[in-house]
Subunit: 300 residues, 2 copies
């Protein structure tokens, strides 16, 4: 499978996801922004603002290539002079505090040495954790993983829990999901084509998962307390992305396109010194869950 085919698959995936998300939102439209990278390649960042469900959503495709920089060498710890990387990234910030933030990334990386790997994942950050919704989300991810490899979900679920952990808060960013990296034929036994199919299906699952989380809800307009809590949780999202997220930090420090990397930022975020939710409140329960990191699907 040639790298151009892989790019094209990701490009089509972006189109598909955008159509589906616009359909779910019912009003908001994505506006595209094509950019070029001086050293090789470029991307297409598409952003939706002020929809009915989405306050801000970004779906970005990129295909970049060129010389392996020293920053990349340090991060990748692999040998090679030139690279090729392509993928799709999504972050959705909903208007309503009872709808979750959802994030996805699927990517492919290749070195001129012939070495290649796939990476990615989907994770969810509800402002209020709801047990059934969390189980539904994880079950769908597990079902998809299980169709491709019995070891994927058991490996990728804890990988997400570790990746999306904020050590300085002692809590996870949300209820996790799956995360994986450096996957190729050697370490999975799946052909390149099958790994590509896994990534494509994961991408196609994204709008389905999002719809699952927002469709059946009858919501009242949010209270001031709910909006306040949403803004504080968004503050944590910012903290994770800027302090800990390897992807964001690598992009920023290695001179990636700032606006495309930081499209993940919420439209608005708040901080309050030493905020503590009222004991036993829903906010309190959410925080408690984020400190436990549950197995949403108990093993049989």
């Amino acid at each position: 499978m040639r790298k151009e085919e892989i790019s094209n698959r990701y490009r089509s995936l972006q189109d598909h996801i955008i159509r589906e998300l616009e359909h779910i939102d019912g009003f908001g439209k994505f506006i595209g922004d094509k950019w070029q990278r001086e050293e090789g390649g470029g991307g297409h960042t598409q952003v939706l603002k002020d929809g009915t469900i989405l306050e801000k959503g970004g779906v970005a495709f990129s295909e970049v290539y060129g010389e392996v920089s020293s920053a990349m060498k340090q991060q990748l710890q692999m040998e090679g002079e030139s690279f090729f990387a392509t993928g799709v990234s999504i972050v959705l910030h909903p208007k309503h505090p009872r709808h979750p933030i959802m994030h996805m990334n699927v990517r492919y990386f290749e070195l001129n040495s012939g070495e290649y790997w796939f990476g990615g994942g989907i994770d969810m950050t509800p402002h209020y954790v709801n047990h059934e919704e969390a189980v539904l989300f994880h079950q769908s991810l597990k079902d998809l993983c299980d169709r491709h490899h019995p070891k994927f979900y058991p490996e990728f679920k804890p990988w997400a829990d570790n990746y999306f952990y904020l050590p300085h808060r002692g809590e996870t960013r949300g209820i996790g999901g799956i995360f994986f990296d450096y996957k190729n034929e050697d370490n999975t036994g799946l052909s390149k084509e099958n790994l590509m199919n896994f990534c494509t299906e994961l991408g196609e699952l994204f709008p389905v998962l999002y719809k699952d989380q927002v469709r059946h809800k009858k919501l009242s307009p949010p209270s001031i307390e709910e909006k306040q809590w949403q803004a504080l949780r968004r503050g944590r999202y910012v903290e994770f992305n800027l302090l800990h997220d390897k992807g964001t930090k690598f992009g920023i420090y290695s001179g990636g396109r700032t606006e495309s990397i930081l499209m993940s930022m919420p439209p608005q975020a708040n901080w309050e010194y030493a905020f503590e939710p009222v004991p036993q409140s829903e906010e309190y329960q959410t925080l408690k869950t984020l400190k436990i990191i549950p197995d949403w699907i108990p093993s049989k």
Copy 2:
């Protein structure tokens, strides 16, 4: 000069600054929060919320000691088994977009080897850069520096410009000020006592500088555009502190007290994808200035 004396000087400095800032604000009061550090020492973080001028202000004192951790060794690149560190940090986020964000830090560090140094600085982040206010600010800092050492301002001004630079935005956090670190008798020719006096006077200058920036202004209630711009500039403040600020990153990664470190966060910050101010607007001019990094006081 013993380390306990230095702590006491910083403790008194915190009290003095709090009194002065409460006086300037005229309504808001600081609420204190004493904390202990398991490995040794502790601090007193004081935060003001919803004053007349200040929307959120924090003035923190800390005195911590213990074993030199591997994180510290890496950052400091110095030899020693145990350390002692004390200092005062301030960040003020005003309500009105025509008032600036102002930051100060003075600190002292000592190793059991006998090695010691002072560090610190004051810098200002106006949401709207005003040339006269910037010159007044820098002139006051230069006057103080010049009373202590002719080389301080010429060295510390560019140090601040470099320190408070956001490479991923190609702009400085604000109009800078002064920043210094690792200063002791060997590299300044000033005795420990005189360096302590410099830090104390810098701390005492802080409320004077803040008053200079806010007192003579007759302000109308802010427009929606001004508030929006303020929120975006606060977003940049967050980006700097979480992505680049060595002090914040060191504190977070080495297990410092999260709430005290992140008291620097604004009460609210916004992000907007690929925002561009209207050409020739005040917002546009401010951004232009932050990309130039002017010498506010031309050398004669």
